[in-house]
Symmetry: C2
């Protein structure tokens, strides 16, 4: 691979999210969209046509064909979760670097097989959590890391909710037991859990407790749930998540420390692409007679030249190039982040399955 050569991506599966990532691959300077595979050639061609890719990308009518193409360096895989184990392991065995859509697997046992396959084949693994790549996220992290302005974290609250149709609740891929058996917990809760672990520097909670407001569809797939996380006995942080297909669109991240607090209400997908913000207060107290505050929330705005998904692709491709061109080892940070997220997600699921009993990690 020459210095100026870009990483050639193949997309396996034509889910809605693939359109967004196809665009991101086009935007990222070190990446090229090389091929698309669907279960039928017609679907792949239709996807190419609908996204202005006809003539510029190869189309395949099977995932195997794409994985057998030696020109494909890396694979973006937005398949239903139940298909991840098979296709992700196969992709790794075919030496394709793997950008895997979240939730990464049905459970951590499956994810471990995927990550092991990536490791033993020397390919990069990363999950598709785009928000981690937004420059605002780095700014948020900087803010909560400053002991003077923020201090030890007291509480983290994160939500990821959206309102779906009655039909979606019963029959969409994302709530079908044989396709995305984790339902709202996998699709939306992944972000809530990820945000909490991110805030806690990926320190796993010791206790995970689903709260008794679980809603499932007729097939038993989670449509809505809430959980709390605890880092007993020494760490006093408490965190709550709420993910739901039954609520208005929200993606709130609120964190309070002993010296400051912040609110970000679009942490997963910023309201707009080019700039994103969050509010913080630090050193807040009341004025004389407690008739007001000494400070008001300050808005921090962060410009992003590129969409967060393009930054994700760029970072992934940078690592891939490092491996392919310079013989670097794959970056282990990304599979670790995914694994901890999956471990906590499994614990929430287990707590729900136990009738909302606490689960110790």
């Amino acid at each position: 691979m020459a210095e100026n050569q870009t990483v050639r991506f193949g997309i396996i599966g034509c889910a809605g999210i693939a359109r967004k990532v196809a665009r991101a691959i086009k935007i990222a300077p070190n990446s090229t969209l090389y091929a698309i595979a669907s279960r039928s050639i017609e679907k792949a061609q239709k996807f190419a046509g609908n996204n202005g890719l006809s003539g510029t990308v190869k189309t395949y009518g099977s995932y195997d064909q794409l994985l057998d193409d030696p020109c494909v360096d890396a694979v973006y895989m937005p398949l239903p979760t139940s298909l991840h184990l098979h296709w992700a392991v196969l992709a790794a065995q075919k030496k394709k670097h793997l950008l895997l859509e979240k939730p990464t697997a049905l459970d951590v046992g499956e994810l471990d097989q995927i990550v092991e396959a990536c490791e033993s084949n020397g390919v990069q693994f990363m999950d598709g959590s785009m928000w981690l790549h937004h420059p605002r996220t780095a700014k948020l992290k900087k803010f909560i890391s400053e002991s003077e302005h923020f201090g030890q974290i007291d509480i983290i609250r994160s939500t990821s909710t959206m309102s779906v149709t009655q039909e979606f609740r019963e029959s969409n891929i994302r709530v079908k037991p044989d396709l995305d058996a984790l339902g709202a917990l996998g699709d939306l809760g992944w972000y809530c859990i990820g945000a909490i672990l991110w805030a806690k520097d990926y320190k796993l909670p010791t206790v995970v407790n689903a709260l008794p407001d679980v809603t499932k569809n007729s097939a038993g797939v989670i449509l809505s749930c809430t959980a709390s996380f605890h880092w007993e006995p020494l760490d006093e942080t408490v965190a709550t998540i709420h993910c739901s297909f039954l609520s208005h669109t929200s993606m709130d991240l609120a964190i309070s420390g002993c010296n400051g607090s912040l609110h970000c209400n679009d942490y997963i997908i910023p309201y707009q692409e080019k700039s994103a913000s969050f509010d913080f207060t630090s050193g807040a107290t009341f004025v004389e007679l407690h008739i007001g505050w000494n400070v008001r929330p300050e808005e921090v705005r962060v410009i992003s030249e590129q969409p967060q998904e393009a930054l994700m692709v760029e970072e992934f491709a940078r690592l891939v190039k490092g491996i392919m061109k310079s013989g670097h080892r794959p970056e282990s940070k990304w599979p670790k982040i995914s694994r901890n997220t999956q471990v906590v997600l499994d614990a929430v699921k287990k707590s729900i399955d136990l009738g909302c009993k606490p689960v110790r990690l």
Copy 2:
């Protein structure tokens, strides 16, 4: 009492909050601050002096003396919670209308005695939750009541936190078992619980569940706690509270319904007196390719000619005048609000005492 006569208030106890309410009584057009009582005449005189009240208010060196003054129509009582039962009942028996600081009592059994004394003596009862009287609160209520813009409530999250000194944690009145045995739950959690009940039109939850992150001081008084509320089986709302003396100042109220959501991060004490705001979104979804939102939060700003505590005093005095002048019956809404809040607060306390087991109401 003549048409233009104002309600004459006596204040029993010279707590810090009494200064704020003394000012509010001065501001409210239908109220006059008539007398102040402390346990010593020196303290009462000092309070009067420090607050520019010397010569304009009577000062008493005992609570009994103030309650025996026939010119006192109504009493504002910011005493430590453990003293409420005795002095509030006595005030009612002396036919004084009662504006009682929160938490209203150590438990609902005590509160019932106080409310019963008020009822049998025909005097008005109201607790000192000022935020309920801010015009913003009415605006918030209107917003969450609109089914088209908001819809059924999915989740309510409320916090009330402040950071106190190590000395406060061990020895302040608000965390002394013989004075304010309810600690942060009584002082701050009262608001969180009140906000949730307010949002739910005072419908009591069926299950109250303290989460296992309770922190107590060496005397066993709660410094920090978290709880969830559920309205099983038919009502899918979930609510969480977090109150803490160990965290940065916060007072967040976030409510999501199926069609809209709102955020108010200064719901208990607005950032400034004259105007207050909240943010809402309604009908939010993602734009094409999910690269942004179709709407952004809209700020609703509400002007308040008077501070919320003056509006509270004015409303209380209006009811008192109606009773004294027109022979109205006391308004039963206010003791009911207090009672429901106290019932839920008791349940959180019980859940904590049971080792964070769910409590059914």
